[in-house]
């Protein structure tokens, strides 16, 4: 597609917010790994775009036990973080794609993309985003409830408490480009509580609260794994059937918890 959409190139977060939220609302171009091909193939219309590559929004910093990741941080950089975020980022695409795709772009991409929503949900990550009404903070679900990614909205950064331990396992073909059919992220916080989230077990990333409750009540990994099915709403897609997802979710929950050292 050779649309003549103008692209502005802000050189700071503030400029980026101003550019995205100005009328007409702009589409955010970060790594471009989804937007550019869609644009080439005429699957998306872009009136105006804002490229984040020079907005200095790709920092990753840690302070007071909290990690803050700029929305434009490439997955290759995120892959160097501890599990579950690092392991999940490492699982997306090949090295060339990882070098280009950003964590913010991933979060904003619809299923079956958007793997990073799983670990971030388990971590209880706080997203910070801007829209014409100002700057907002909230969890993954809050961001989605606000309408999620769309022209005029700019995800700024993602922050989470560095967990005591984290783990990530994925159901995917051992295949470089295969999309992940299902993944389980588990986190043990400083308080010792374990939180678990999955992608691919339901139409969008979800917490596995029943499994968490079993663990909190002193149950075993196996009991927690079995309980996880109650939180699933599996579906058929090109990657796996609903029946298979339901069947192996406990296996992957079990493996994530084993890895966590529960």
């Amino acid at each position: 597609m050779t649309s003549t959409a103008a692209v502005s190139m802000p050189s700071s977060e503030a400029e980026a917010v101003a550019a995205v939220t100005a009328q007409p609302f702009a589409t955010v171009l970060a790594g471009g790994t989804l937007l550019v091909p869609q644009h080439t193939l005429g699957q998306v219309e872009v009136e105006r775009a804002v490229w984040l590559g020079r907005a200095e929004m790709d920092g990753i910093s840690r302070s007071n036990g909290r990690m803050t990741v700029g929305a434009a941080a490439p997955l290759a950089a995120c892959a160097r973080l501890d599990a579950p975020v690092g392991a999940c980022a490492a699982d997306v695409g090949d090295n060339e794609v990882k070098a280009q795709a950003t964590i913010g772009g991933n979060i904003c991409s619809p299923a079956p993309y958007g793997d990073m929503r799983g670990p971030l949900l388990a971590l209880g990550a706080v997203l910070r985003w801007a829209d014409p009404d100002g700057t907002h903070t909230g969890g993954i679900a809050d961001f989605a409830a606000s309408g999620g990614a769309r022209p005029g909205v700019l995800l700024l950064d993602i922050a989470f408490a560095v967990p005591e331990a984290g783990s990530f396992v994925a159901l995917r073909r051992h295949h470089t480009q295969s999309l992940t059919a299902m993944s389980v992220s588990a986190v043990r916080g400083a308080d010792g509580n374990v939180t678990i989230a999955a992608t691919g077990a339901a139409p969008d990333a979800c917490r596995l609260l029943s499994a968490e409750a079993v663990l909190a009540g002193g149950g075993s990994i196996a009991e927690a794994a079995d309980a996880s099915v109650a939180d699933a709403d599996p579906y058929d897609d090109v990657l796996a059937s609903a029946a298979y997802r339901r069947r192996v979710l406990p296996v992957y929950v079990g493996r994530a918890l084993e890895q966590l050292g529960e």
Binding site: T33, V36, G93, V97, A99, Q177
Partner: protein
């Protein structure tokens, strides 16, 4: 926008969201990056952007304004092949040739970055590049040979270590 493509300064007129692949192929007539999938899935369009391998189909040209872009045409000529190009000939790493340009670009970055001759390392670096012809065996051998520092005779090809030959009884000539 301004690009340096294979050491030549080029001015680009395409709109800013145009993919680098489209700019290279359709505006600048540099046809070695291939439109294998145009979605980042196959690696046939990989080029070097400031020395790093990038999928040109995923890259908006505005994001590389001012950058130095190298395609396989810029790595060597028929008269002066690069070592990776020589290795691909000598180790028979190209069959139909359609994935070859992207692979050579990515392999050049791998070796140039000090990559080892370990097959696992090479596989991890290049695994996003599809080849439907070769089964990858000879591609991995070619890249490992460059990493090892081999020199290459491009007038002949090498057998892989994985092959042995026998002649059926009674058919010796």
């Amino acid at each position: 926008m301004e690009l340096t493509v294979n050491s030549v300064a080029r001015t680009v007129q395409s709109p800013p969201l145009t993919s680098l692949l489209t700019v290279l192929r359709e505006e600048l007539d540099i046809t070695s990056p291939k439109a294998g999938c145009e979605s980042g899935g196959c690696g046939a369009c990989t080029v070097l952007v400031d020395g790093q391998p990038r999928r040109s189909c995923l890259t908006a040209v505005c994001a590389v304004d001012g950058a130095e872009v190298t395609t396989v045409e810029g790595l060597g000529t028929p008269e002066d092949l690069s070592r990776v190009q020589q290795a691909f000939i000598h180790h028979y790493a190209a069959q139909c040739g359609f994935c070859t340009d992207g692979l050579i670009v990515a392999a050049t970055a791998y070796v140039g970055g000090g990559g080892s001759d370990d097959t696992g390392d090479i596989g991890e670096a290049l695994a996003g590049h599809y080849c439907r012809c070769t089964g990858y065996v000879k591609i991995l051998e070619a890249v490992a040979a460059v990493a090892r520092g081999d020199t290459f005779d491009t007038a002949s090809t090498a057998s892989s270590a994985n092959n042995t030959y026998v002649t059926i009884a009674g058919a010796e000539s």
